[in-house]
């Protein structure tokens, strides 16, 4: 059995869970707390980053970048006969747009919002003996950044059917990985961003999203609207 080592609120882990579900690749989930820096985990991925996919009788793939490109390449042959695979597809310039946005979400959004929010509201809460309340100044800065990023997603969702173009791509799944984590923590003011909300509602009702919506991180309850399809 293939194994995906991940953390439930890790946005990159979530984007890969969505991608694997979209391509019907089944993997058992192993939970890793990224702040523990366990030796066994570092032996698997010396970077200490999530997710890691161990393919049965195959390679160990470290990180959302390596995993998403691996499956994109693997599925290239399918593209000719059916709908575009939900990773990277189409002419090179369209793929470049898909990757620009993946970079936006897994790079810029992660740095300016998700990584900091998890430190303030999740890691600080779950780390034994080190629990601390979130820093109000940090939360204010993060919330301002959330509005900036939602504004950009809203703009894209208003102009296009999917964030990178006519078809769903890994850009949508990368965005959803982050926004679903932030939404779990009740930090997304959806009402102010109707096009982003409509796009997210469409994604949220896909079968690939179900296992994410059923997730519960022990010690941290999700916001009431988190799993609601009519949020």
């Amino acid at each position: 059995m293939h194994t995906l080592t991940q953390f439930r609120l890790c946005p990159k882990s979530r984007s890969i869970r969505l991608a694997l579900a979209e391509v019907a690749f089944e993997a058992a989930l192993a939970e890793e707390r990224p702040w523990e820096w366990r030796d066994e985990f570092l032996a698997l991925n010396p970077a200490g980053e999530l997710p890691v996919l161990e393919i049965d009788s195959g390679p160990v793939l470290c990180g959302a970048y390596a995993i998403s490109e691996y499956f994109s390449e693997l599925l290239k042959d399918r593209e000719k006969d059916g709908p575009p695979p939900p990773l990277f597809h189409g002419p090179l310039d369209e793929q470049a747009e898909q990757r620009r946005l993946v970079d936006w979400f897994h790079g810029k959004l992660d740095r300016e919002v998700t990584r900091e929010l998890l430190v303030e509201r999740v890691y600080g809460h779950l780390m034994p003996g080190e629990a601390h309340a979130p820093d109000p100044a940090a939360l204010r800065a993060i919330r301002a950044n959330i509005r900036y990023h939602l504004g950009y997603v809203n703009h894209l969702a208003h102009e296009r059917r999917w964030l990178a173009g006519d078809e769903m791509s890994f850009a949508d799944l990368a965005a959803a990985g982050h926004l679903s984590s932030i939404d779990y923590l009740g930090e997304i003011p959806w009402e102010a961003y109707p096009a982003a909300k409509a796009w997210y509602a469409r994604l949220k009702s896909r079968p690939s999203f179900r296992s994410l919506l059923a997730d519960r991180t022990p010690g941290i309850a999700p916001a009431p609207v988190y799993a609601d399809l009519d949020f």
Copy 2:
């Protein structure tokens, strides 16, 4: 003429300059100071990140990720007849290892070293009216991280001919983009890492490296060994 918008000490810009030189793709260099957030630049890349490649009568490619994958795909056909192109190549598991390391350098090394070092020693120095001396505590933390990362590069260079395997890949160029910036600032204790040094000396003597070694950032002199091939 194609145009690459970049900043001379930006590690991701450098990795792409190396890649373009390796594949003999000529582009004029335009200099952008990333901390200025100029409207014209944000119109080109709303993320405000470098590098950006404008292909004549072609797409605008934003970011090292989109650019490197674009050229990798473009060069796939060459792979059959000649040496592997200097981006991603070989079976899928080998490509995954190349991408794991690109992620290490453009993600982890950037976050733990290069981005912070540039803020402390370059941006803080060049920003008009806001010039400030580096924070000693921040520099100490950055220097400890430099040793950790050099230890890892040394380990890889000891075990393998190139960082990701037998052939040069974008993993080497991503690493070189960062290490050459850090080296410009005189922050690399090469003597303690002989395998890393031998690997870097080999890269440094390639023709693709020449334009980087000739670079001078106004207001910031390079370390004496920066352009020396017998460092």
